[in-house]
Amino acid sequence: MDFGPYLLLASLEGAVGAAVLALTAVGLSLVFGVMRVVNVAHGEFYMIGAVVAWFVATTVGTHPALGFIAALIVAPLVAAIIAIAADRLVLKRVNYDPEATIVATIGILYIIQQAALMGYGPEARPVEPPFNHRIALPWYDFQAGEWFYPWGLGTTSYKLFVIAAAIVLLLGFWALMTRTKVGLIMRATQLDWDMAQAFGIPVDRVYALVFGFGAALAALAAVLIVPIQQAHYLMGGDPLLLSFIVVIIGGLGSVRGTVVAAILIGMSDGIISVFFTPTLAKIIATMVVALVLVFRPQGLFGTKAA
């Protein structure tokens, strides 16, 4: 394959990754923005989403689409309930002290991960996509002056659906945050916790809601990706790392910056992974993010006053 079609293929793979990453990272960013909690267990909620999707898909079992739709509803709910329980039982009791919450969420990470190992097992299991048509993509041959279909250049309808679904969900999230009362309450809590409480906003309940909502977003992202990847109890590590990178590059707590950074990081991760090794891509990304945190703690897109 020539360089051009190859790059297009890499960009498509990158776009799928970016779409899922944006959803996961927005969840992490929301939790950090509103609660000032660095949720190290975020990747495990992603894993819960994938594992629950597998359970639902195998239980419903009539048509893959039916199982998929059921998973889209059940998986985020399960993740949200576990997250809210974690918030009530642990995070609230340490008063959201930054260092204590990090240590506690590391603990929650291991509890969820190891519980999945016991309940679900060490195998990686596939989930059948609801639909999956191969779509060959054309490429313009400048020398011959005509369109043709290079061998191997193609995608599937499901991958395009993932990108579209992520865009719809992100727009929905944006509308929720800016156009509804719930969003207003969340933003008010983010801006000034004390003042929000003084105005009668039940900050406790908002925190639980936000933590659950953040987890649900990660689980949704996993339900979308699990027909392409497989469900595995250790799958939470990579999305956690990438989400961290995205949230930091985008500016801690800024949702808009997070989406921009997710597209940037997801695309470049996909493209670098195709041309070089995934390990090298991750080394570069982690190193860059550490240096961004050191030299530009407000993020690349954040403003200084934070």
């Binding site: 930054p98 590391i106 603990g107 929650i108 291991y110 390990t279 982690t286 050191v294």
Partner: protein, 314 residues
């Protein structure tokens, strides 16, 4: 007895007790204790930064691994004898700690944790990337014939135990001494109130820098010794899990106490050893312990003893 005499007696008692155990313990626990003493040394290094200086690092595995690989690669490919290789490992960890300190100390609080985590992750991935030499997750074995210092065979259980004992004793006494002199006092002052310490005219950055380097060097010494004594060098020791372990040990044993790291490593080692016999999901214990400690016993075992019964505890 004054507090200083009591703490000296405690440290010498612990060291003496561990020496006596070398000749008493049954084979299985004898091996475990050798391992625990090396891991406790790692925890002592971690405690210098976390317990005394108040800086929570989530990336100490990189120093442990730098020591281990600095030693292991020099022996495997450079043909360096064991003792110089051990020092090469410590030097490698010290240099890495200095570089990390210069960069990471520009950040504070949560950002410091994430930066150290990211650096450690970069280190782990770099080890995987150069898998041709490091053998990645698989690791490599150091042959028994090269694991000798001055004719002593380090693969022999008794020699190994005593080598681990020497390492642990030196680390324990050195840090106990460090916390006794003015330098240690400044570290604690930084932990309690950084701004006020600066106001009093202390160079906060220089002290924090020294704390990171000392902490990294001790962690590196533990890593190098672990590789040398147990004859195995692998990327697992650079993974996130090995950054979490020292945090867990120190939290469990008691952050900011001299004997806390040993107590924590001892308890956790046996807890995980016991539960891994029951289930493959033994890290569940680590998770539950972390959550329970943050909820109910922030001071850890030695910290609680100090608070309730023995305020003199160092």
């Amino acid at each position: 007895m004054s507090a200083a005499q009591k703490s000296l007696a405690l440290h010498l008692g612990l060291i003496g007790g561990l020496f006596a155990l070398a000749f008493i313990l049954p084979t299985y626990h004898h091996g475990n204790f050798a391992r625990i003493m090396v891991l406790a040394t790692y925890a002592i290094g971690y405690n210098v930064l976390f317990g005394y200086t108040g800086l929570l690092s989530l990336g100490h595995a990189m120093f442990f691994a730098a020591g281990m690989y600095g030693m292991g690669l020099a022996m495997q490919y450079g043909g360096v004898p064991a003792l110089p290789a051990l020092f090469l490992g410590i030097i490698a960890a010290t240099i890495l700690a200095a570089v990390v300190a210069v960069l990471a100390l520009r950040t504070i609080g949560v950002a410091f944790m994430i930066v150290t985590l990211m650096f450690a992750q970069t280190g782990f991935l770099t080890i995987l990337y150069f898998g041709e030499w490091t053998r990645g997750d698989e690791g490599f074995v150091l042959q028994q014939k090269v694991r000798q210092i001055a004719g002593l065979d380090l693969s022999d259980p008794m020699t190994r135990y005593l080598a681990a004992w020497v390492l642990f004793s030196v680390a324990l006494l050195a840090t106990a001494r460090m916390m006794h002199v003015a330098f240690g006092g400044v570290l604690v002052a930084i932990r309690e109130n950084e701004e006020r310490t600066r106001m009093l005219g202390y160079n906060v950055f220089a002290h924090k820098f020294a704390a990171v380097v000392i902490s990294g060097a001790i962690a590196g010494a533990a890593g190098a010794a672990y590789g040398l004594l147990f004859g195995y060098v692998g990327a697992t020791f650079a993974s996130v899990q090995y950054s979490i372990f020292p945090l867990l040990w120190v939290l469990l044993g008691g952050a900011g106490t001299t004997i806390g790291p040993f107590i924590g490593a001892l308890f956790m080692f046996y807890l995980i050893d016991y539960s891994s016999g029951l289930t493959s999901a033994y890290m569940l214990i680590a998770g539950v312990a972390l959550v329970l400690l943050t909820l109910f016993a922030r001071a850890g075992i030695a910290g609680e003893i100090k608070r309730r019964w023995a305020p003199w505890l160092p």
